[in-house]
């Protein structure tokens, strides 16, 4: 906690597809009980890369996807099947926006 001194540079690790995170990592990151994460897996919102349910390993970007899913579920009061759909559509919109941005520029 106490690395406030000037000049001290912290190095972190990039969370990417190769990074593996566990059910517990997701649960701590999202500040929810493990059961809420298991529910996300059961609805296909996030998918484990490997392992049985005891030893699940997820790709690093699942952290953000899970946290976003839980926010949407709570704030919009929608069920997880709808959350999964919303997340997929949001991803498509991001891709399309990026393409549009390049198309409009010439």
């Amino acid at each position: 906690m106490a690395n406030d001194q000037e000049g001290f540079v912290l190095a972190g690790t990039i969370i990417d597809e190769q990074t593996e995170v566990t059910l517990d990592d997701l649960s701590v990151f999202c500040s929810v009980r493990r059961e809420r994460i298991v529910a996300l897996v059961e609805e296909g919102v996030i998918e484990p890369k490997s392992g049985g349910s005891k030893e699940w390993r997820f790709a690093g970007h699942s952290l953000r996807r899970a946290a976003k899913a839980l926010r949407l579920q709570q704030d919009l009061e929608i069920d997880l099947a709808a959350v999964a759909l919303v997340l997929d559509l949001l991803e498509q919109i991001d891709t399309l926006k990026a393409q549009l941005q390049s198309g409009n520029r010439g």
């Binding site: 906690m1 000037e6 912290l10 990039i14 500040s31 970007h61 949407l72 520029r105």
Partner: protein, 317 residues
């Protein structure tokens, strides 16, 4: 502090039913949720909506708000009357919503309550040794920083509990190494920089989410970088070696003869570094020289007369 008109925030009448309030909240939440609406101001608006809903959906809080708020207009200077809350029970049950810190107005009425998204909610009662909560923050970097790596000073504010369990704001600054090869939307994990553990448990982690500043000529898709490269008609037609910028410096790029607009030239491995590195694509744009001199007009006329060229051949006209 300013009085907040929660009914106005949700756009409902003072005598709105619980159903009306729920409907109004859901509609506004869908519109302004910061995960959906990326416009500036959406997040602030969403917080207001969430706070209004928090109060109005709960019959007790709504009654308390109605009692103290009668006669106030939105924006008016507000001070809660002493002892106003006698008879209303409120405390830990008010932390059910997730948006960040509540307004001063909310806190004056209902105490510290909303907020503290992080902080191990859901781990209560699991014993007295627990891992500290994780924290998250966003960091803006330039595309060039992803090529070279960079150091960023980051200032973080977080709510922490003091010895007696009262919350207070803590500000700290960290110098963080942004590793080479980081991509838009990725997170960097700083182990042990989150909340302290409880009862000797390990500290939580700090996650920094990377966002690139918009660049005036590069566009990023995952590891790949795109550049619109203008070329003259003769460069596209006859082929030419031209200069092209890349985030690592200028390169010479061979435009093949017979190129047309929109052709993508790939510079392998010149995208964002990594294993494997991304590619850089130069997308050709044909720039027309203006016909603003007699010489230029003559050349255009010569082309018109000498080239059997129908640009609309594909349209069959």
């Amino acid at each position: 502090m300013e009085f907040k008109d929660y009914y106005k925030t949700l756009g409902v009448a003072r005598d709105a039913s619980a159903e009306d309030i729920k409907r109004a909240y859901r509609k506004l939440a869908r519109e302004f949720h910061p995960d959906i609406n990326k416009k500036p101001g959406a997040e602030a608006r969403f917080k207001e909506i969430g706070e209004a809903h928090d109060v109005l959906k709960d019959p007790e809080k709504r009654a308390a708000y109605d009692q103290v708020g009668a006669g106030f207009q939105a924006g008016q200077e507000f001070r809660p009357p002493p002892g106003w809350d006698a008879g209303f029970e409120h405390g830990e049950s008010f932390s059910d919503t997730d948006a960040a810190a509540a307004s001063d107005f909310f806190e004056a009425l209902f105490g510290r309550a909303r907020g503290a998204r992080r902080g191990g909610g859901g781990f209560g009662g699991e014993g007295f040794r627990a891992r500290g909560g994780d924290h998250q923050a966003k960091v803006l970097i330039d595309l060039e920083d992803a090529y070279r790596g960079a150091t960023r000073a980051i200032s973080l504010r977080s709510v922490e509990l003091d010895g007696e369990g009262r919350p207070h704001m803590r500000q700290r600054s960290l110098n963080v190494q942004i590793p080479k090869g980081v991509r838009q939307g990725q997170q960097i994990r700083l182990s042990g920089q989150g909340d302290p553990g409880i009862g000797g448990g390990p500290a939580g982690d700090l996650y920094l989410e990377i966002e690139f500043n918009a660049h005036s000529f590069y566009r990023v898709e995952g590891r790949d970088v795109y550049l619109d490269l203008p070329v003259a008609p003769w460069e596209a037609a006859l082929g030419k070696k031209v200069k092209a910028p890349t985030p690592e410096g200028t390169v010479n790029l061979q435009i093949p003869a017979g190129s047309s607009a929109g052709r993508k030239l790939r510079l392998k491995g010149r995208g964002i570094p990594g294993e494997p590195p991304g590619d850089l694509y130069a997308v050709l744009q044909i720039a027309l020289p203006p016909a603003d001199s007699e010489a230029a007009r003559r050349i255009y006329r010569e082309m018109e007369e000498n080239l059997a060229f129908n640009p609309r051949a594909k349209l069959k006209v």
